[in-house]
């Protein structure tokens, strides 16, 4: 069974703090790991993605850390802002162009 397990289910962080969301996978054939951000009433939108040949990718306040041996990857949001409050989904696919397998989602709330 191809699965991506995401934790925590919900997260509350103070403004300016660091938000960390973790994902673990089983299929070693996965080679594309995106994170999607979804606001209420909207469809998910790609936030940042990584391929397994690098251990970290940073875009602004968002960083993906990737541990191939542990089959885990995580999203770090630095200096979290109330506008970051949303549901975040990790995902994985084989051959980049393959179907995406989504994690269960994390509802992030950043308190002012």
């Amino acid at each position: 069974q191809q699965q991506v397990k995401q934790s925590p289910q919900s997260l509350i962080v103070q403004k300016g703090g660091i938000s960390i969301i973790n994902c673990a996978y089983e299929n070693t054939a996965f080679d594309y790991f995106p994170w999607y951000q979804q606001f209420p009433g909207k469809g998910p939108a790609l936030l940042i993605a990584i391929r397994p040949d690098v251990s970290e990718k940073k875009e602004g306040r968002f960083t993906i850390s990737f541990n191939k041996s542990a089959k885990q990857f995580s999203l770090h949001i630095m200096d979290s802002q109330p506008g970051d409050s949303a549901t975040y989904f990790c995902a994985a696919s084989v051959n980049q162009g393959g179907k995406l397998i989504f994690g269960q989602g994390t509802e992030l709330s950043v308190k002012p």
Binding site: Y32, P34, G41, K42, G43, P44, A45, L46, A49, T87, F89, S93, Q96, G97, G98, K99, L100, I101, F102, G103, Q104, G105, E107
Partner: protein
């Protein structure tokens, strides 16, 4: 903002009715997808298409059907709606080749079957 559209945005309908959820994209993407998502929950792939006249069932079994007669259009049909079909339905599209697998999502259709 991605150029992918879904109509209607909200639909409340009685049991046994036939419904079609529309999805269109103007990006020329070959690949299109339908996901089912309960509020705040994970996305489950129910149908996908890698091109015109190509459709496949996804990982979650669904009583719905899809068609792909034109590149830009990927409608989903339920022949006889039931309360168990109440959910949010998200359509997405992505390009082929070296563009990777970024999927662009529409805003979703929230379906309620009474």
């Amino acid at each position: 903002e991605a150029d992918i559209y879904q109509t209607p945005r909200y639909l409340v309908i009685g049991t046994g009715k036939k419904i079609t959820l529309e999805c269109s994209q103007t990006m020329g993407h070959d690949k299109m997808y339908w996901y089912q998502q309960d509020p705040g929950m994970e996305l489950h792939l129910i149908h996908y298409s890698y091109g015109v006249n190509s459709t496949e069932k996804g990982d979650l079994s669904s009583e719905s059907t899809v068609s792909r007669i034109r590149t830009e259009h990927f409608p989903l049909t339920l022949e006889s709606a039931r309360p168990s079909h109440t959910s949010q339905y998200l359509c997405a599209s992505s390009a082929s080749g070296s563009m990777g697998n970024e999927q662009f999502f529409g805003p979703g259709t929230r379906l309620t079957v009474l």
